[in-house]
Amino acid sequence: MNEILRLLARPLGETLFMVLISTVAATIMGAPLGLALHFMGPGGLAERPTLRRVLDRIVNTFRSFPFVILMILLFPLSRALVGTSIGTLAAVVPLSIAAAPFVARVVETALAEVDRGVVDAALASGASRARIALAVLIPEALPSLISGLTLTVINLIGYSAMAGAIGGGGLGDLAVRYGYQRFRTDVMIASVLAILVLVEGIQATGGIIVRRIRRMR
């Protein structure tokens, strides 16, 4: 038992590292993209049908790529950005790029739920588009944004296990190298359980935050 816990510690840290960094990076890339999709959409505050169609296509293309293939395709980019295509840090690059379009859709959908009348009220108050985005749309959509972000993190945990399988480290790596290749079923079960606990914990935390915000309103 002790041995298993010792085996789990480092991969768990690696998974958390990969997921955390790529969530932040994906949000930095995806959130502005989601805002842009919302603003350029029909009836939006900056309607740009053609540009929006292009962005929409790009987002869909990246979303439909199987992650394993995306990861291999992005080896050169990982090497260029972090100096290597193998390891935990290198895995962050494809993880972020795979999650960014997901975040963009999450943001776009969440903002679309904000009542148009509220935006009218902000416009009538003489607010700029930037202020409407930051001080109205995002706070109004916060519960949906957090729900969506929770989903993103959970997806990333799944992806990170895949990244682990091809040299990214983390719990997926442990499950494959120890559990599968060395026939250590106990290690396999332990790593799967660890991932399960992680997912459950994040889902529960997200749910609690969303409920708390809704209750305060």
Partner: protein, 307 residues
């Protein structure tokens, strides 16, 4: 209607003296500098709509519509659903550009503005909506503060002004409530406070009482009338309820198929309607007195002033 140096004007200056929108205007518009000083200017409309047209796909919603809203008046625009009331208000409040025609606020041409000048022109008006359209992520005070934040006012000034605004609408004790925990009438009061935040010259009300029960409707209308008197406001009120016009408005314009078909003092129009639309409205109300919601609340209608 107006006298130079009204006591209310002075009182308002005292409560919130810094960078009043009127002062800003007067810097570049000589017509507004003497707004209260000569009797001839009393006749000058605060809001003028000239030849407005707007179409959405199937035909015009607003059709070469012109309307003058006298300074200091509460003018009602009444019409059936789909007559073009809301579109008219959205164009007048600069939320929607007209396909053709011009909008003047206080003699200044404001239609066709873009960028910063558009934002500034919007800050000189306030809009109250049927569905309140409050920011659910903010408290009552936070909602009233929003236009001031958008105008870049300093924090201490915002705090002072918000306290004044909430006091004005009788919600001083509910400043820190999330708006989701306020009643319908209270929410509309918050919306009025928010609309008045930047000391607008013109207040637009888009079916502002249609979501409220008769008693609350009366209270909100009385509040708007008293605010007009205290704050030197000009109010354009769009509604489908005759009772609202009778209770709150000095003047009324009847809109039908995107055009103003009749206008004048409220009594004049409703006692001897000339247009078919106005006659139909009056006849319908006589047939169905139980629908006279506002008066059913047992509050006497306020006296109608003749122009």
């Amino acid at each position: 209607m107006f006298h130079a140096g009204r006591p209310d004007e002075a009182a308002r200056g005292l409560t919130f003296p810094t960078s009043s929108s009127q002062n800003q205007d007067s810097a570049f518009d000589p017509r507004t500098t003497t707004r209260h000083s000569t009797s001839s200017l009393q006749q000058q409309p605060r809001l003028t709509l000239e030849g407005l047209s707007k179409s959405f796909g199937n035909g015009p919603v607003v059709d070469r519509l012109s309307l003058d809203v006298p300074s200091g008046s509460i003018t009602g625009v009444i019409g059936r659903s789909g007559a073009g009331k809301s579109t008219l208000l959205r164009i007048a409040a600069l939320l929607e550009p007209p396909d053709a025609g011009q909008v003047f606020h206080g003699g200044r041409l404001v239609s066709g503005l873009t960028g910063r000048p558009l934002l500034e022109a919007r800050r000189r008006t306030g809009v109250v909506f049927q569905a309140f359209n409050l920011f659910s992520s903010r408290t009552a005070a936070g909602n009233a503060a929003f236009p001031l934040e958008a105008a870049g006012r300093p924090k201490h000034e915002i705090r002072e002004r918000v306290a004044y605004l909430l006091d004005l609408v009788g919600l001083a004790d509910k400043a820190d409530r999330p708006v989701g925990r306020l009643s319908g009438g209270e929410r509309q009061r918050v919306a009025i406070a928010r609309a008045l935040a930047n000391e607008p010259e013109i207040l637009f009300c888009d079916e502002a009482t249609s979501a409220l029960d008769p008693e609350t409707t009366s209270q909100v209308l009385d509040l708007i009338v008293s605010l007009r008197d205290r704050l030197d406001l000009t109010v354009l009120m769009v509604t489908h309820q005759m009772e609202v016009v009778v209770r709150a408005c000095d003047r009324v314009a009847v809109i039908e198929a995107g055009r103003i078909v009749e206008q004048g003092g409220v009594l004049e129009v409703f006692e001897s309607p000339k247009s078919q639309a106005a006659r139909r409205m009056v006849a319908h109300r006589r047939r169905a007195p139980e629908n006279a919601g506002v008066q059913a609340a047992g509050v006497p209608a306020r006296r109608i002033s003749h122009e």
